[in-house]
């Protein structure tokens, strides 16, 4: 079974500063995908960034980047130049590919507050 662990239930960061959210996972799969999703208060979940496990290069999307350590099964999210709109719940997710449809497993989330 796949498990995804986010050990930081809540975090806060000053506006314009950098924050790192941690995520670890456990799997016996050799090929998989990892995601960070953002769920703002009372709004729907949207994709922040994705990482293919077979790629060694860390993914980046503007102010968002990941530190993917495959051997350690670690997948942290770094948010640079934090903005007020980054306040949200962040979920780390693991995806395994199946012929019957990809399956996704989520961590318990980290609530991030950006302080003005």
């Amino acid at each position: 079974a796949q498990t995804v662990t986010q050990s930081q239930p809540e975090m806060s960061v000053q506006e314009a500063e950098t924050v790192t959210l941690s995520c670890t996972y456990d799997t016996s799969e050799s090929n998989y995908y990892l995601f960070w999703y953002k769920q703002p208060p009372s709004r729907q979940m949207i994709l922040v960034i994705r990482q293919e496990a077979y790629k060694q290069q860390n993914a980046t999307e503007n102010r968002f980047s990941v530190n993917f350590q495959k051997a350690a099964k670690s997948f942290s999210l770094k948010i640079s130049d934090s903005q007020l709109g980054d306040t949200a719940m962040y979920f780390c997710a693991f995806m395994k590919q199946r012929n019957t449809g990809n399956q996704f497993y989520f961590g318990t989330g980290t609530s991030l507050t950006v302080i003005p």
Binding site: Q44, L47, F91, Q97, N99, T100, F106
Partner: protein, 115 residues
């Protein structure tokens, strides 16, 4: 804009009274998922459809059923809601298995209250 739509956004039902939540999508994705998300918890996958093929998670209670009459629509039926079924229910879609379209697109969710 292509999107995932869930109706209603808020649903109140009585203990034991059947309720149906609906999800529609304009993305033409072949995979549709239903998640249950309780307060401060991770979304928990209930089941998903790959085209017309239904895939149930092993620990999903029999009280939860699903229907997918066509590509665009998927329904979640709760046959006899209990107080423990009060939660946010999220619908998500995903495209073909391989390639860049392997992320999930989520609807806004339906918050279910059981009285």
């Amino acid at each position: 804009d292509a999107m995932v739509i869930q109706n209603p956004r808020y649903q109140v039902t009585q203990f034991g009274k059947p309720v149906t939540l609906s999800c529609s999508q304009t993305l033409n994705h072949n995979v549709m998922y239903w998640y249950q998300q309780k307060s401060s918890q991770a979304p928990k996958l209930l089941f998903h459809y790959y085209d017309k093929d239904f895939n149930n998670e092993a620990d999903t209670p029999d009280n939860f059923q699903s229907r997918r009459p066509n590509t665009s629509f998927c329904f979640l039926d709760i046959r006899s809601p209990g107080l423990g079924d009060a939660a946010m229910y999220l619908c998500a879609t995903s495209g073909r298995q391989r390639g860049p379209t392997n992320e999930q697109f989520f609807g806004p969710g339906t918050r279910l209250t059981v009285l």
